[in-house]
Amino acid sequence: MLKIKNLHAKAGETEILRGLNLEVGPGEVHAIMGPNGSGKSTLASVLSGREAYEVTDGFVDFDGVDLLDMDASDRAREGLFLAFQYPVEIPGVSNMNFMKAAVNGNRAHAGLDPIKGTDFLQKVKECASLVELDGRLRDRSVNEGFSGGEKKRNEIFQMAMLQPKLAVLDETDSGLDIDALRVVSQGVNAMRSSDRSFIVITHYQRLLDYIVPDFVHVLSGGKIVKTGGKELALELETKGYDWI
């Protein structure tokens, strides 16, 4: 599904990723943990095509295509989804128009006609109920005036609408209370399948009680320094990162 080889990236003059290697197979859930400043969010940004980062070396193969060669829109259309750590507020653009444009952008890429109005609404209904996103929020401007929890639920709602091959969740749990965390995790778990993979970036082990990973990686100094099973997360929780 995803093969990252020797990835180097910098923001401005600062090199943040320094030879990162990672392989994610279909249906797998990989958690990436690590101290602040280790490069977790940079990895999410580089994968999704944020322009502020420059890739200086390495290669990313995404289901047979060169991911780094595409712009952000095409990466999304190839099936990559990023759940933002800080979802952006866009006044004046309604959540529904936004999603319709997104769904149709993806459909056009796949050679499909724009979605029918009734089909779209049906899909919205299903996906919104998955994360308990009520109608009020669906009809408002994108993320405008949403609480932190509502924003994160909106991210998972969008993920459900777009049915990606690979979803990168960038600290989706940060700032969430336990109820919101439960709702968000339920949404993610409902979408787990044998052909959909997840990279779950988190600072806290707590999330991994809800979304149980197949692999846990520790990112430090711009590369993965340790890989284990889900028990590694617990170990990190008790011992911190210093022992690695």
Binding site: E51, A72, R75, F84, V88, P91, V93, F98, A101
Partner: protein, 416 residues
């Protein structure tokens, strides 16, 4: 090479009404200079090129209305209509209100009008209008009479090297109300100048709503001057939308001459290519308890230029005034230019005034967010643009007018 001021007006013909104003205008026309780059008010909108043309005024005799332009620019709006073509009244396409307490007709058919506007004493452009104005809307509404439908004032420029001069006069009595849509069109083959002036008097407790739309093809230098005088407790809302225009100068002056007035004025501009759009606004609070709210948003594309100059005066005795001004600009392309200048002069000490002026690029985070969901760059930008100016367009009260403006912008900028 620049033509002379004198030769420029040689082929302009003045009709025979409002003679007093014309003769005064002619005197000032001789004395006033053509503004140049050193004239502060015209610094960013030089008009020297205009003088290169050899323009003339036209009558309407024997002309056929062009097919590509609807005489009724807001087709779904239930409205009255007064239509002009190259400055001349077209009676066959017009439909006036007939009601007790309302006088509405072409200016040329009114015996005498007491113009109070003195723009012709200050600017060469204004002196030309006073001297050569061909026709315009004349509207008076008596005390406590509310006009039942909006009046659409439609001006069409059609033909090369045309000079058109329009002068509109609106006077609302105490407690009266009226809505006017001022719409300007031009065929793609048109060129020349369109010079229009609107003088509006809003008596106490009356309200006036004006939606002004410029949607002109061709290459026309457009001068548009609105002067509105608000008496005590009157309300004014004027929106200025420049949809399309080669060279457009919108000047808006609002003078509050009584207490408790409310003035709302908004505008949008999105020039492309080599277009030029200038918005000069003045809000003058001379009395207490007035409120004003101004929102202008623009995006400059290609090698276009835009100018915003917004003056707000709060005079010494204008206590408890609440004045708001916001001007935001997006420079979409490298070759585009915006000159923005907010000017606030506040002499009263117990007032609430806020203003903001921004010049920036597209919000990169918002753009990335949209793209990260599979929306292409162009479509993502269109969504953001539509939201950005849509905010201003939403202040149009009439659905039919608002939808038509959105439709024209959509068509032009590929929003959908």
């Amino acid at each position: 090479m620049t033509g002379s001021k004198e030769s420029f007006t040689l082929n302009f013909k003045a009709p025979e009404f409002s003679e007093e104003l014309r003769s005064e205008g002619a005197e000032f026309l001789q004395d006033l200079p053509v503004p140049n780059r050193k004239t502060e008010r015209w610094k960013y909108s030089p008009i020297a090129k205009l003088l290169n043309g050899s323009l003339k005024t036209f009558g309407s005799e024997g002309l056929v209305w062009p097919e590509e332009i609807l005489p009724d620019p807001v087709p779904f709006l239930n409205s009255y209509r007064i239509v002009f073509r190259n400055g001349t009244y077209v009676s066959s396409l017009s439909d006036f209100p007939v009601a007790e307490g309302v006088v509405c007709s072409p200016l040329s058919e009114v015996d005498s009008v007491e113009f109070k506007n003195t723009y012709h004493r200050k600017e060469w452009v204004g002196a030309m209008n006073a001297t050569y104005h061909q026709d315009g809307l004349f509207l008076t509404v008596d005390k406590n009479v509310i006009l039942d439908r909006p009046i659409v004032v439609h001006h069409l420029t059609d033909g090369s090297d045309t000079a058109s001069f329009l002068r509109h006069f609106i006077s609302l009595g105490e407690g009266a109300g009226a809505e006017v849509v001022v719409w300007c069109s031009a065929t793609d083959a048109s060129s020349g100048m369109c010079n229009s002036l609107l003088e509006g008097h809003i008596a106490s407790n009356a309200y006036l709503v004006i939606d002004k739309v410029c949607n002109e093809g061709g290459e026309i230098f457009k001068f548009s001057h609105e002067h509105l005088i608000q008496e005590r407790d009157s309300r004014l809302k004027i929106n200025t939308f420049t949809v399309k225009g080669h060279w457009v100068r919108n000047e808006l002056e609002i003078l509050a001459v009584g207490a408790g007035t409310d003035s709302v004025f908004n505008g949008t501009y999105m020039p492309t290519g080599l277009e030029h759009v200038d918005n000069h606004t003045t809000m003058d609070h001379a009395h207490p308890n007035g409120t004003s709210s101004e929102l202008y948003r623009g995006i400059v594309y290609g090698k276009s230029t835009a100018v915003f100059n917004g003056k707000v005066f709060v005079r010494k005795d204008a206590q408890k005034v609440n004045a708001f001004q916001q001007n935001s600009n997006i420079v979409a392309d490298q070759g585009a230019t915006i000159n923005a200048k907010p000017e606030l002069e506040i002499y009263a000490d117990d007032v609430k005034c806020s203003h903001g002026c921004t010049v920036g690029q597209f919000d990169k985070e918002a753009l990335f967010y949209l793209k990260s969901r599979g929306i292409g760059t162009d479509e993502a930008k269109a969504l953001l643009v539509k939201a950005y100016v849509g905010d201003v367009i939403s202040s149009v009260d009439r659905d039919e007018v608002r939808n038509e403006i959105v439709r024209l912008y959509s068509e032009r900028h590929g929003w959908e």
